[in-house]
Amino acid sequence: MNLPLQEQETPVPQWEEELAKVGFVRRLLRARKWYGADWWFVAISSVMVLGFIVVALFPQWFAPYGPHEQDGPRFLAPGDQPDLPLLIVRADSGFTSLEDLATGPDSEVSRPPIAVVRGAPTAGSLREQAALIDDELQDADTGMRLRPNIQRFDTVEEVLQSVQDGESFAAVMSSVQFEEVADQFPDLEAPTDISGGVASAGDFTLGTNQIGQDVLSRLIWGTRIALIIGFSSSLVALFLGVPLGLVAGYAGGKVDRIMTVFMDSLYAFPGLILAIAITAVLGPSVLNVIIAIAVLYIPTYYRIVRGQTLSVKQEVYVEAARSIGAKAGTILRRYIYPNVIPSVSIIFSVNIADAIITGAGLSFLGLGLPPSTADWGIDIARGQEFIQNAWWLVTFPGLAIMLVVLAFTMLGEGLTEILNPKLRDR
């Protein structure tokens, strides 16, 4: 009877293996097979968070425009092209740009007639552009000038008809107007817009707001202030709340009781309202918003750290350490502190999410940030009155807030599932 030889491994005691894995980064990475979908939760959200951080640090790489540039037309819907003043000529005329209409001393007509719709703003654009070109020509000293004879007609059709008939050399009208009736005038074409560029739009992917700013760019630039507020207020809260919690938990007694009553009251109170009060008194500035929101979250860190400190303090190994004379500082540092880190990091992540939403709420109400800041909450507040006609002013900043907050919250949630032993399957 031949029984197979079994390999004899020296069994490693369980506790030794556990201790080796205290570094939780290692634990996280190794956890993928074990934790399944939860791991993906964390992985995806970490990538998103990193992405947002990059965008916040270098918005200029991503945003086509600056946050305050008013380059576009107002209320441009997403996906629409802005209205450009087109130069419309007869296809057989050979004119391809406004400069072609310049005249010299030996030209037949010294002032070329150009047709426009009466009262349209394109007339003004035409005059401006023509003057510009005229100045350039004069500087070039070639004897050429551009001084159009502006013919006004009542309707778009009349304007185009005059070009078709040859009465006017060219017409200038908005691209939208031309599009509408272009079919009726097959002989005409629009080679360029009057500034000489090919008739294509500036890119305003998500539209523009009521003063012509690109929505997408403001979204991207808004990331910066949102993350600044989120991170800074959470960090301040952490640096104040954690030590206070450690002290209260470790010292106990009256100190603990007084601080806890105070912190519990603060914790129970509606955060936004407190933040409103603080910013109202301090005045609008980024720093004040950070302070106001930080105050809100100090109790959160305090409570968790205090709770953990209390439970660790009761552990036997801490008593043992104390009995051999270890100083409070050592005990705090060596035993309590490492136990506290995982919970604190989870709170930190969720905290940032909360801080961003609270900050957005504050700026939506018109408090906290100076009105010139490029911020999502401010954009939503300003867009509110135009919601019926320009829905994109409110929708996209809100989506941005949602995505950023979602990323941080998912990160915190996922970390909780992974690092919380009580929720693991036994």
């Binding site: 399944g36 979908a37 009553v261 105070f262 519990d264 009251s265 603060l266 914790y267 129970a268 109170f269 509606p270 955060g271 936004l272 309202i273 407190l274 409103i276 009060a277 603080i278 109202a280 008194v281 301090l282 005045g283 999410a353 939403i357 957005a360 709420g361 939506f364 109400l365 018109g366 408090l367 909450g377 939503i380 509110q384 919601i387 019926q388 829905w391 409110v394 929708t395 900043p397 809100g398 807030i401 949602m402 995505l403 907050v405 979602l406 919250t409 998912m410 949630e413 009580k422 929720l423 036994r426």
Partner: protein, 365 residues
């Protein structure tokens, strides 16, 4: 009688009866528990009110000057300051402040008509209640049902979907959700009105007693008013409720999962109890207890959300009042509103504690 007084009576009388009942029938342990809770309530209100007081006084900025603006001459400012007692030593001011709180004397608003603040608040308080209570109920319902489902189907697609929902919904800024709701259901679909508590024309026909509009409509038999006020309630309540449902869902889920790992659940299964009853009866009844205790804390989120919701829907409640008064730099009003909120939070915490003590038999006996 002012609407505020009526509200307090409606809530207060049954509450006092309930408290008396607990005192008489409950065990000594229960009595001690309730007294401790009440005892903690008072410091909490004072701490918060004092916080507000000091924040308003100690930080830079002269409230009177900013509220009067450039129009105020030096004499007017000085006179107002004296009237409000702002030049007295801080201790004296604080003392007066405390006395005022206890006697519920909130003074008059600094700007906009100088009405007694109590009156202004008593008009707006019912409006906030009308919004907040149904929203909380809505959120609880969704949260508890969803959380239990997620825990029961743990690590399966429904669980992940519900968790994603709870995280996503909380990430949505409540004011944005409100605006989107207005856009879709109000503007595009035209199903619901988008602002206010009631159609203004119908509103004039309604006799206000409690200032809870649908209640007043029922009392006076004004059916068009009932319909109008209810249809105005839908969007704000659903908005606020949805946001909060995520929190409750997460809470319930975690608690149910922890409860399901308890020994008595395995023991119940070992007796052949059907899974549905194990989860719905045994697990849920135990898991709900911590959820209820945390309910008290969620009130804070509810009130914060109410401020934003009221602003979006032009709902004339305490939240909107607060924001308005801040914009007009009416610091007396702001101080009063915040103190009022503190009291509200404290009272609700107490109520929740009492409910908890009734639900958990370990406290009762």
């Amino acid at each position: 009688m002012s609407p505020l007084a009526i509200i307090f009576l409606i809530i207060g009388i049954p509450a006092l009866i309930g408290l008396a009942y607990i005192f008489v029938r409950g065990s000594a342990g229960l009595r001690r528990y309730i007294l401790t809770r009440i005892g903690l309530l008072i410091p909490m209100v004072f701490i918060l009110a004092s916080l507000v007081f000091f924040v308003m006084r100690v930080l830079p900025g002269d409230p009177v000057r900013s509220s009067l603006g450039p129009k105020g001459s030096a004499e007017t400012v000085a006179r107002m300051r004296e009237q409000l007692g702002l030049d007295d030593p801080l201790i004296v001011q604080y003392g007066n402040f405390l006395v005022d709180i206890v006697t519920l004397d909130f003074g008059n608003s600094l700007t906009g008509g100088r009405r007694p603040i109590v009156d202004e608040m008593s008009e707006r308080f019912p409006a906030t209640l009308e919004l907040v209570i149904p929203a909380a109920a809505f959120a609880l319902a969704i949260g508890i049902i969803g959380g239990t489902l997620a825990a029961a189907r743990r690590k399966r697609p429904l669980d992940y979907a519900l968790r994603l929902y709870s995280v996503a919904i909380y990430s949505i800024p409540v004011f944005w959700l409100g605006l989107m709701g207005q856009l879709v259901f109000g503007v595009r679909l035209g199903w619901t009105p988008i602002a206010g508590r009631i159609d203004p024309v119908i509103g004039t026909t309604l006799e206000r007693t409690t200032n809870i509009l649908w209640l007043d409509a029922i009392i006076s038999g004004n059916w068009p008013a009932l319909w109008s006020s209810l249809s105005h309630l839908v969007l704000p309540v659903v908005t606020l409720g949805l946001i909060l449902s995520g929190v409750f869902l997460r809470l319930t889920r975690v608690n149910v999962i922890e409860t399901l790992q308890m020994d008595y659940i395995g023991a119940a299964r070992a007796r052949g109890i059907r899974e549905r009853i194990v989860i719905g009866g045994h697990a849920l009844k135990n898991a709900i207890i911590p959820v209820i205790t945390l309910l008290g804390l969620q009130v804070a989120i509810l009130l914060a959300g109410a401020v934003l919701t009221e602003t979006v829907f032009s709902w004339p409640g305490m939240g909107q009042y607060l924001v308005q008064r801040i914009s007009s730099r009416d610091y007396t009003a702001v101080q009063s509103v915040i103190t009022m909120f503190a009291m509200l939070v404290a009272l609700i915490s107490l109520a929740v504690d009492i409910i908890y003590s009734l639900v958990d038999p370990r406290v009762r006996y």
